[in-house]
């Protein structure tokens, strides 16, 4: 019998996050014949919600309420619990994002279910669904199955390709009225820091600097390179400890674990702590003046040279090629 699969989608800055589309593709991996129900929460999201049809959703449910304008665990839990009770899905998928990481364990506890966090691949073998997920920040992997009952997982961005957009598909989002009340979490302010608008965990290209950057001010050359490539800028623990940049930019076993298509490591030694957070990137470029640097061991392409010479030249060359 085909399954009903609920995909918790997420809108940020007026657009669906790509990982929401990837979660729909993940649902297809679980059951290609299944019914995929997208669900989106917010204060006014029904119009936008229709995008989910184009990426493979069969139905879309919008829960709209003024109290859902910002994410709070209690608000979203009330909304999603109402949807889950109404739909009684066989599987629930969400992106492994700030919201996904926060809300799914709360729901899993409520539902007394298992939860597979941060899945990078899914395979269906008969009645069994096998999730692959990194452990020890990607130094190793494990394959996990849900024993029985609800299949519940979060999907790491940038690993399971979204289905191709199909403009011929459309539909109308169903509206579900839910009373969202007694919010305990009062959000007094939000300060946006991601200047480039490209989030590290979802970026398809990342430029990262290490101690070799020698100072906070020098990160501007990485910003310029990143801008040309539409990339996010990250850093090693060494660079963060030296206060060249904020810990929010740290990539590594403590810090963010990333899997972009292209990772450009600049002035980075390649400490095991850092490598754990980025070694599963598809293509790695290393720029370092020390030919013995560990980072060259895992790089696909390397340039041995002074980063202050190489990086600006690289930026110029990319400009030429990408216009």
């Amino acid at each position: 019998m085909s399954k009903k699969l609920l995909v918790i989608a997420e809108i940020r800055d007026g657009e669906f996050r790509n990982v929401s589309y990837e979660a729909i593709a993940a649902a297809k991996e679980i059951d290609s014949e299944g019914e995929i129900v997208g669900v989106v929460c917010g204060d006014s999201v029904a119009d936008k919600a229709n995008e989910l049809f184009k990426y493979g959703a069969d139905r879309v449910i919008a829960v709209e309420h003024a109290n859902l304008s910002q994410y709070t665990p209690e608000g979203y839990a009330q909304a999603l619990q109402a949807v889950i009770e109404k739909e009684d899905p066989d599987a629930i998928l969400a992106g492994h994002t700030s919201i996904g990481r926060d809300i799914t364990p709360k729901l899993a506890s409520r539902l007394k279910s298992g939860l597979v966090s941060d899945a990078t691949a899914i395979e269906s073998a008969g009645s069994e669904v096998i999730f692959t997920r990194p452990i020890y920040s990607g130094k190793a992997f494990e394959k996990v199955v849900v024993k029985d009952g609800l299949i519940f997982a979060t999907i790491r961005p940038n690993n399971i390709p979204a289905l191709e957009k199909d403009d011929s598909r459309s539909g109308d989002a169903e509206s579900l009225e839910v009373e969202i009340k007694d919010l305990q979490t009062i959000i007094t302010d939000v300060v946006k820091n991601t200047t480039s608008g490209v989030d590290l965990s979802e970026a398809s290209v990342i430029v990262a600097g290490g101690r070799g950057m020698k100072g906070k001010e020098n990160f501007s050359i990485l910003d310029e390179l990143a801008e040309v490539l539409g990339a996010a800028v990250g850093a090693s623990r060494g660079a963060c400890d030296a206060e060249y940049c904020d810990y929010a930019m740290q990539i590594g076993q403590t810090g963010k674990v990333v899997t972009p298509d292209l990772y450009i490591a600049v002035g980075l030694s390649g400490a095991i702590q850092h490598v754990a957070g980025m070694s599963n990137s598809k293509v790695i470029v290393a720029i370092n003046k020390d030919p013995e640097a560990e980072i060259f061991q895992i790089a696909d392409y390397g340039i041995v040279g002074d980063l202050f010479d190489v990086v600006p030249k690289l930026t110029e060359e990319f400009k030429k090629v990408l216009v």
Binding site: G114, I135, I303, V304, V321
Partner: protein, 256 residues
């Protein structure tokens, strides 16, 4: 204030991981307090020093975890509880939630602190699961907290953005990097820690059956990623190398 910290013993982040017959090889490996839990312990000590009360460390694991718990006591926590989970078959995050919930239902915690994630399993589930089970609020990934009149003012990290929150106690929070700079245990601290109370409990003590805490998920395989082969180190003048690199990324790797 009754301050609790949930903490876990993990592999040192500098360790290479080896796998034998599907199991992680622990022989000879260095173990530490999960780095994110260390921030939680430090913050708990600071909150106690400011507001009074006691810091209790709670860990689910085997007897080996005593060493890391003693380190937490040496940092300045007042007492600790180790809940042994050796009887649990195929434990997962659900299991840990159930065990901790059984312990906490008899405690009157004002605040429970934990790490944002553990650097081994990396799921970040146990904190929010436990809060839900206990019927208290949670805030994950915090980088600052101030408590006044039963209310917490919190700054949390949301994928690089800062979110400012006000919320009432009792509360569970998980620590993100940047919350504080964990102290090293002092020599007198280490001496004192040896005499601080460390209670050991098992499932029976918590009136739990093995069946009740059996995991909902099952790990069927563990493996190492294929070793990456060293790639191509470009040669020649820097200008030529830069040209070649861009060309390779465009035409060979096809990533731009």
């Amino acid at each position: 204030m009754n301050i609790y910290v949930i903490m876990k013993r993990t592999f040192d982040t500098e360790e290479k991981i080896q796998i034998d017959s599907g199991e992680i090889v622990e022989d000879g490996a260095e173990f530490i307090i999960n780095p994110y839990d260390e921030y939680a312990i430090e913050e708990a000590i600071q909150l106690r020093d400011e507001h009074g009360g006691e810091v209790t460390l709670v860990s689910v694991g085997d007897e080996e975890a005593e060493k890391q718990i003693r380190t937490g006591l040496a940092m300045g926590a007042d007492k600790a509880v180790l809940i042994e989970d050796e009887d649990v078959e195929n434990g997962d995050q659900f299991s840990t939630e159930a065990i901790l919930a059984a312990y906490f239902k008899d405690q009157e915690a004002d605040i429970i602190l934990g790490g944002n994630i553990a650097v081994d399993g990396g799921s970040g589930q146990v904190g929010p699961r436990l809060a839900e089970n206990l019927g208290i609020n949670h805030v994950t990934s915090i980088v600052n907290i101030e408590i006044e009149d039963g209310k917490a003012k919190i700054e949390r990290d949301v994928e690089g953005d800062q979110e400012f929150i006000e919320i009432s106690l009792p509360l569970l929070v998980t620590a993100q990097q940047g919350l504080n700079e964990p102290r090293y245990p002092s020599l007198p601290g280490i001496m004192k820690a040896k005499k601080k109370p460390l209670e050991t409990l098992d499932l029976d003590d918590l009136d739990l059956d093995e069946d009740e805490v059996e995991g909902k998920t099952n790990t069927v395989e563990r493996y190492l990623p294929p070793e990456k082969e060293a790639g191509k180190i470009l040669e020649g003048e820097i200008d030529d190398q830069v040209n070649e690199l861009v060309s390779l990324l465009k035409n060979e790797a096809k990533v731009i």
